[in-house]
């Protein structure tokens, strides 16, 4: 079962400490100082490793906040059931 709190905690690990402390569900990824291509790749790998959901960079660019990413994941997991 996917929970918002576990998702957010594990998402924060993908960021450097200066940014991970600031992140809430509504934070815009682009507003974070250390958000760049390597962070995107790390989040994509984390989504694959933890939820077995494949994402590519172009899909990810539309998922602009943790909440939107979480909702996308829920949808994907539901459709995979």
């Amino acid at each position: 079962m996917i929970t918002q709190s576990t998702f957010l905690e594990n998402l924060k690990i993908q960021f450097e400490s200066t940014d991970s402390e600031k992140i809430t569900l509504d934070t815009s990824f682009e507003s974070l100082e250390t958000f760049d291509s390597l962070t995107k790749y790390s989040i994509i790998a984390f989504i694959k490793d933890d939820y077995n959901v494949e994402l590519d960079v172009s899909q990810f660019s539309e998922l602009t906040t943790p909440q939107i990413l979480f909702n996308f994941l829920l949808e994907k997991l539901k459709s995979n059931e």
Binding site: I13, Q14, E16, T34, D36, S37, L38, T39, K40, Y41, S42, I44, A45, K48, D49, D56, V57
Partner: protein, 335 residues
């Protein structure tokens, strides 16, 4: 008969490229951002008239001098590079002559990138165990800077030039030495890290710089790396490579004293470390002043560990190399 790593020395070009210099060329690319992501503060870059074999010879001569070694004892030279002097002859013949190694010494080049050092250890071990050689000189040398496009800020931030020379010798102590190997090959990823033009299939160098907006994308005359695909390959396949390496060596992960992986960039290494649940203190990262020197990152890291007196007798170190190909290899060395 067993094989041991007896000594390692390395050589870097004297010219440095710092993050501050990169920032002057790419103002949106702050020096702090480069170092916090990649773990790299500066990398060494060859001058126009300095080549991989020059670095290789410097590293080997340092190895002989620093360890008071008699070069006449070398009976095999293995040279790992993707930056050969010529299509032919094999560069190891040129190196043999310039180093003044015996003429009844075996020598050949092999073309591998980031997995090259671990592959080289396996070849050296095979030569020693089969009694074809007693002292193998393994040299890894690379000058990727010569493949990089001047507009390619990502790869220019990551790669540095360098060479390492490692002496692998026979030993009757079966409790020490180079363990068993695991290899990985997946050529379906060949196009994700490639210099396309200039060799047999596309001999003409006629690539053009491609941009998306202001962002440089690729030029087929230069090195192209699909960052996302390389990240995906590495983070998905290397944990399995490590598990298989532990299994083939009948070793538990807790028995490993140090993990020395190919030093690609700090961010990706951190991801793999977390995925494998390896403690920070056992995971060596040495990339600050060299950058990613391709096949030389692992021997340079081991040389630094030896210099810092961090390798004690009896320690088990797991080595894993991975990258261009895709190609990977891992082993456990007991010092």
């Amino acid at each position: 008969m067993n094989s041991i790593i007896k000594a390692i020395s390395f050589a870097l070009p004297s010219k440095k490229l710092t993050n501050e210099e990169l920032n002057l060329e790419f103002p949106e690319w702050s020096a702090e951002k480069i170092s916090s992501k990649t773990g790299i503060f500066e990398r060494s870059i060859c001058s126009n008239d300095e080549f991989a074999s020059d670095l290789a010879i410097r590293a080997a001569n340092k190895l002989f001098e620093e360890n008071n070694l008699d070069k006449n004892q070398i009976d095999f030279l293995l040279y790992c590079t993707q930056s050969p002097d010529y299509f032919l002859p094999t560069t190891s013949c040129i190196i043999q002559n310039k180093l003044g190694l015996r003429t009844n010494c075996g020598a050949f080049d092999f073309n591998l990138g980031c997995s090259g050092f671990v592959y080289g250890l396996s070849i050296a071990k095979g030569l020693i165990v089969s009694k074809s050689a007693k002292n193998v000189l393994l040299i890894t040398a690379e000058t990727y800077s010569k493949f990089l496009n001047k507009f390619d800020k990502s790869n220019r931030s990551i790669f540095g030039d360098g060479a390492a020379a490692t002496l692998i010798s026979n030993s009757s102590d079966l409790n020490l030495g180079i363990g068993d190997f695991i290899f990985g090959t997946d050529g379906s990823g060949a196009n994700n890290l490639i210099v396309k033009n200039g060799a047999g299939r596309f001999p003409q160098k006629q690539g053009v710089d491609l941009f998306e907006g202001a962002e440089f994308i690729r030029n087929d005359d230069n090195l192209f790396m699909n960052g996302q695909e390389i990240f995906k390959y590495t983070t998905s396949s290397i944990p399995d490579l490590v598990s298989e390496c532990l299994s083939v060596n009948e070793c538990n992960i807790d028995e490993i004293n140090l993990f020395v992986f190919h030093q690609a960039n700090k961010f990706m290494l951190d991801y793999i470390r977390r995925k494998l649940k390896i403690d920070d203190s056992k995971f060596y990262i040495n990339i600050e002043n060299t950058g990613n020197t391709v096949s030389s990152t692992i021997p340079i890291a081991i040389a630094e560990l030896i210099k810092q007196n961090k390798i004690k007798k009896g320690m088990k170190i797991l080595l894993a190399g991975f990258g261009v190909g895709y190609s990977s290899a891992a082993t456990i060395v007991k010092f």
